[in-house]
Amino acid sequence: MIANIGYGALCITLVIAVYGIVAAIYGSQRKSPYWVDSARNAMLLTFPLLTLSVIALEILLVNGNYELDYVASVTSKSMPLYLKITALWGGQAGSLVFWTWVMSAFASAVTLRNWERDREFLPWVIVVALVTLTFFLGLIIFVENPFARVWVFGGSVIVKSMFPPAGAALFFQEDGRGLNPLLRHPGMIIHPPMLYIGFVAFVIPYAFAIAALITGRTDDRWIRITRRWTLVAWLFLSLGLLLGGRWAYDVLGWGGYWGWDPVEISALMPWLTGTAFLHSVMIQEKRGMLKHWNMVLIILTYDLVIFGTFLTRSGVLSSVHAFAQSSIGPLFFGFIGLTFVVSLSLLLNRWNELKSEAHLTSLLSREALFLLNNLLFLGILVVSFWGVIFPLLSELITGQKVTVGPPFYQRATAPLFAGLLLLMGIAPLSAWRHSTVQTLGKALWKPTIVSLFGPLIAAVFGIHYWAALLGFWLVAFVASVTFYEYGRAVIARSHSRSEPIWRAFWELAGRNRRRYGGYIIHLGVAMMGLGIIGVEMFQTETQGTIGPGQELKLGHYSISYDSIAIFDTSDGRNVARAVVNIYKDGHLVGEVYPRRDYYYESQQPMTIPGVRSTMEDDLYVILVDWKPVSTSMATFKIYHNPLVNWLWLGGLVFILGALVAAWPDRDEQTVRVKKKKESLVRSNA
């Protein structure tokens, strides 16, 4: 019954979405507010209906209705409640439902805004949002239905379908197979929804861009309306990427956080164009330039979102991520083709109307440096895209498949990332329109001198590798420029208004959130850079088999194997947990418990490292194997990851900065209230 309600709600939503598309187009052609409003109501109605569907699926997941194939594949009786709830996005069908639900929430929220000034955008924003929604609903209803039940014919043949095939009986399973153990990690529980929300939210700026192209209103209005939405999308996408890295570090057991796998790259690509877009829209707002560029960037971002989803779900590319393959590939392919062709046609049609209102006046002006920043982001995108597409291309042309591995990406992107860091230090100090070597030099010399302490300190600690020293300088440069800029403004405000420093800091961030949020983000990036340099350039590892009391050495550290305990837990795991002491230069500094959990129901093992974590470094110990009690030997793998915690701490600062930037400006609200008051006064008069 509940499954029928959930499925019914999905079907009704599909009909309503199709109606909404037709009504919006008709209303726009006829210039009829009646039909456009009707389309808007259709859009708004999709949210409660999809909410009903999500609630139905959640009830089924929590109740353990294992006659449903999806419920049986992602939950089991022994799973705790929170994992049953989050199993909504633990498999393909459920995550598609979650995706449409979030998308409907975003699209509904945007249609609730005040449209008085931009009425002409409304129907087309609805059309774009509903076309995307319709596509995903179609996938769920016709191909990947989470409400499909399992049926048997004569006790043997099993069929998955929503309704009973003739002569079939419902197949009740005693227990489900349970969620993949690798996904039972707090990072993995939050990582997919964050990524999905980030992906989905980019539909909003794209919808406005398309609306601007269709209606011909190509000024910067669409950018101003969607600024906050873009920042929200970008915030969630960044959070998703960070959590994914943390999950890989904690769970995958190779001491790393990023492997340049096609699945990871497919989430990075829209982030790259999105970040470039966030910077370049500022140039359009300030100078009326780069209109083509911004359109291209937002179209690319949306299409890369769809392309990335296609890559991860269709199995087209080699990946170590074992995603379930399914038949949605061809349908996705059709949708990608449609969005690319339509977007490109619209863009080319309006190409001549998107001319810049100004020209670059100085190569050192902020807009010129922002443009360079955009080119570097695009450079990284091209490298990533090329790496992902190259195996397909080489197979087509030479019949031989050639894959590029992480070294290709690392070598090709490292100088581009270094360039971005350099610009991150210079651009905030250059002026709009006109900047010369003298003005820029005057602004830069103080933080540059301070930043030289970065590589100096590194050299004192015995680091002489030039790339590492350059990296440390760049990180120090970004940090000192950021502190210098922010600090100068705080001190000036504190002096002029006699405010305490903390208050000046707070007020300043509140006054121009995008600018100061941006500085905090830059600081976060510098901290993350420190962590990345530490791991990428100075990670060391060793592996060895030792008996109780014996030691395994790695640099200044050594570990000694104390004991191992093997026991069953109430949630269906067999746990082997070793006790390992960690010594640094001969002194005991801690005890860690690397373990191996074996999940009986899914017959999958999972390695959980024991990590001794400080801001200086992580000692990451993995229990690889152990022998029965008679020999009591165990194999350990140890990684020494210097500075890695700066990556996670920097990530937190980064997200904090993004939150500050995405928060509504107080000034904006004040202006709005003031305007309202003024109009009231006028009307009273």
């Binding site: 087209v316 590939g329 597409i389 397909l392 197979e395 194999t635």
Partner: protein, 188 residues
Amino acid sequence: MENRKSESHTSFSKKKTIWGRIFVWGALIIFLILLALGLLRTQKGPVGVGDKTPNFTLTTFDGEQISLSSLKGKVVLINFWASWCTPCEQEAAELEMAWQSYQGSGKVIFLGVDYVDTEPEAQAYLQKYNISYPNGPDLGTRISQAFRIRGVPETYILDQNGIIQFVQIGPFRSSSQIQSVIDSFLQP
């Protein structure tokens, strides 16, 4: 004169625009064709349990030629790896450890197929993990294409009749995991 100049300028920029458009559409079409071809290949699906493997000959780094058909009667473990592949490193020592326990028996053979790699790096990798079972490059990616592998590491275990009995996508977690799979095929 000026008019003619501006006319030629306009026609030049028009031409430029047309070529630009042709380029953009061409790039999009090529991209879509590539995706379509990739998709068609994927629809075939990977080689799985119960499938018979096509015969191939692996030329090892030592120059020895090993053909799969000559290994009939033995349990064969075929491991696809690459020196650039981080997850491969996770299982490298485990594979060698498992190999050590079968080496003398004559009933089991391990083959390492080095996928899309360069020889010096591959040799360094083999040395780093002291790998002693036969390893060779997948020349022209013929072997990996026959297995339609999706990435590295991937491991296929064939029974004595050359039928695939076990597929591991991603790294093995331990040598005991590898041994338990192989031992199940060695039972009389």
